[in-house]
């Protein structure tokens, strides 16, 4: 898409030479306007980037500098003590591990189920697909609510198990729409006819032909699910009681927002207490960085695919 747009722009930029009288005046106002646009974008860039830089700079500074509020956008008295502390905390590491388990396991389950419903719904020969689709859309608009869902999870015996993290939120309707649209718009009917003549059934066709052709959309929905799992805390809050099962986000909530410090030994020594207090402050910044790292590392690689996925889902429907 950007190729055609840029190509188009390049050709039109030459135009002012040919039709001088009307365009000279306008290019001036256009130039001013464009400058305004650029200033606005710079502003947006700064507003979004500044808090991020501030957090990172603080996380790499010494505890005393952080506690004195001396850090702005560059580390003061650089130190990685907070990171060492975070990585040696058993609760945080346990949470990290749990989050990986939930993200990987949950994504596998979610992607499998999403394809299993999106593919049949993409086939014109599938009877009742419109009814089923409407039933899915309806769940986006109306739900039983928190407690009725909780009762179902409770009745199934999922409370306080790892399954509670991956099953109740397994399928997203939005992802089903994206996958279905992709299947419908990229897998031609002729391909299925050809495969049938060669003796393939529906499942065989899905496995050997559709899935290999659908790697981009599978990547997109897998990443959507993985990021959703990595960032979710609410299911854990209501369904899990055993701290050993807590995902990272719950641990983070306890440390960052409820201010319950883990791991630090209680001491009566005043100097040590002060030190612990200061360490606790900088630990927060380090934790924010550590917990966002996996997502932010993969993000530049997938942003392009994400854009595509959003476009497929939103633009074509």
């Amino acid at each position: 898409m950007s190729v055609t747009l840029q190509g188009f722009r390049r050709t039109t930029e030459k135009r002012p030479d040919s039709s001088r009288r009307t365009t000279i005046e306008e290019t001036r106002t256009d130039k001013i306007f464009l400058a305004g646009v650029k200033i606005m974008l710079w502003l947006a860039l700064i507003v979004v980037a500044v808090p991020l830089i501030y957090i990172v700079a603080n996380s790499f500074s010494s505890p005393s500098a952080v506690s004195a509020g001396r850090v702005l956008f560059w580390p003061v008295e650089p130190s990685i003590r907070a990171y060492k502390e975070a990585f040696s905390d058993p609760m945080i590491m346990k949470g990290y591990l749990n989050s990986f388990i939930y993200a990987i396991g949950g994504t596998l389950i979610s992607v499998t189920l999403t394809i299993a419903i999106a593919y049949p719904l993409s086939r014109r020969t599938f009877f009742g697909r419109n009814v089923i689709m409407s039933a899915l859309i309806f769940t986006m608009l109306f739900s039983g609510g928190l407690i009725p869902t909780y009762l179902v999870v409770q009745d199934l015996g999922l409370l306080n198990t790892r399954w509670a993290m991956v099953i109740p939120s397994a399928i997203g309707v939005w992802q089903v729409i994206i996958a279905r649209t992709f299947f419908r718009s990229t897998i031609p009917d002729e391909l299925y006819e050809a495969a049938t003549i060669d003796g393939a059934g529906d499942l065989r066709f899905l496995w050997s032909i559709v899935l290999p052709l659908s790697k981009p959309v599978i990547a997109v929905i897998a990443l959507m699910y993985a990021i959703f799992q990595w960032n979710s805390y609410f299911d854990a809050l209501i369904y899990l009681k055993d701290p050993g099962l807590y995902p990272l986000q719950i641990v983070l909530r306890n440390v960052l927002i409820l201010n319950t410090l883990t791991g630090s030994t209680t001491t009566t020594n005043l100097a040590q207490q002060l030190d612990q207090q200061q360490l606790a402050n900088v630990l927060k910044y380090a934790l924010i960085v550590i917990s966002s790292l996996p997502v932010l590392i993969i993000y530049p690689f997938v942003a392009r695919h994400f854009t595509k996925g959003v476009m497929v889902g939103a633009v074509k429907g």
Binding site: T12, L146, L203, S292
Partner: protein
């Protein structure tokens, strides 16, 4: 559903394959025979769809039937259907509760504010990005503004708390430069809505802009070209070409936004809440959580949740109707 999310401004009519028109002729066979034939030929597909369908039945539709406990005095021993009916008692109690109006007002104001602030800003960002030719600058802005979307709610909230912190945060340092005494932003109820909404805008603007950028790229370049030949300035082209082009997308996003007006981010409000700001931060969703799971009053919590869902649904239908009347675009056609 096929027309539901159809937002391309002027899609080229799909080139129908010659074989297709013949196949589309109204079938002589009844729907039942059709279904039977499809089932026999594609049984594997029907088998495949059973587990995900079971998921939707169990985790989406059973809870809807479970919502009957809103009209009952729920007892865990008797189960949702065995418990005793109490009619509208739970609803009446809730409406009489002095917190009722506070909850409704807080929820409504917070949602309306969120929709009003987070609707136009992504459009402005997308149009501004679309005006820029410079590849690297454009990519950088997009990459950076997109990033916060990937950060978890817990982290965004704790970043907000740290940045606004009265002792350490740079916001108070900054206003301190102008001689303003430091403010405990999160301890003041009247700041809660602004903090909630603007941190939300910070997090989601870049992501939402992507959808509009996609819509903008779908606008026929010839329209821009002819507008230029007619002597339209950049601003005029934005007003007369770009805005009408993304209108259908904008309407759908607005309708969806209003549809969620009463069910906005429980997760975030809950995290930003503290005993000092509950006067404005207690919304229906957080109250449901507290009543239901902390006080174990299941029936009452379900009644409140149901009240919320129903209002939500009616708002969505109403706005969708209005949008269709005014702009000709709606969620479904």
């Amino acid at each position: 559903m096929s027309a539901t999310f159809e937002v391309k401004p002027a899609p080229a009519p799909p080139a129908s394959r010659p074989g297709e028109t013949a196949a589309r002729k109204p079938p002589r066979t009844s729907r039942r025979t059709q279904a039977r034939r499809s089932l026999r030929r594609h049984w594997q597909l029907y088998l495949l769809i059973i587990p995900p369908l079971a998921y939707f039945v169990i985790f989406k539709y059973v809870p809807i039937t479970n919502a009957v406990i809103a009209f009952k005095d729920y007892s865990p021993v008797k189960g949702p259907w065995g418990s005793d009916w109490v009619g509208f008692k739970n609803f009446e109690l809730f409406f009489q509760n002095p917190v009722f109006w506070t909850l409704v007002k807080n929820t409504f104001l917070l949602s309306v504010y969120t929709v009003l602030a987070s609707f136009p800003i992504p459009i402005i960002l997308a149009i501004a990005l679309n005006e820029i030719r410079n590849g690297r600058f454009k990519k950088t802005v997009q990459l950076v503004t997109y990033a916060p979307y990937f950060i978890s709610t817990v982290v965004v909230v704790s970043m907000t708390i740290l940045v606004l912190s009265p002792r350490l945060g740079f916001v108070n340092d900054a206003i301190g430069l102008f001689g303003v005494p430091s403010i405990d932003f999160l301890g003041r109820p009247d700041y809660f809505r602004h903090i909630y909404v603007w941190s939300d805008v910070w997090q989601t603007t870049g992501y939402s802009a992507v959808i509009y950028l996609a819509a903008l790229s779908g606008i026929d370049p010839a329209l821009h070209e002819s507008a230029r030949i007619d002597g339209a300035s950049r601003l005029q082209r934005i007003r007369n070409v770009d805005l009408p082009g993304i209108m259908p997308t904008a309407v759908i996003i607005l309708v969806l936004g209003v549809g969620n007006i009463m069910s906005i981010g429980f997760e975030k409000a809950f995290l930003l809440q503290n005993p000092l700001n509950t006067a404005q931060s207690e919304i229906i969703a957080t109250y449901v959580y507290k009543t239901g799971l902390l006080n174990a009053d299941f029936s009452m919590a379900t009644a409140i949740g149901l009240f919320n869902s129903v209002i939500n649904l009616f708002l969505l239908l109403g706005v969708n109707f209005a949008a269709k009347r005014i702009t000709g675009n709606g969620l479904w056609s």
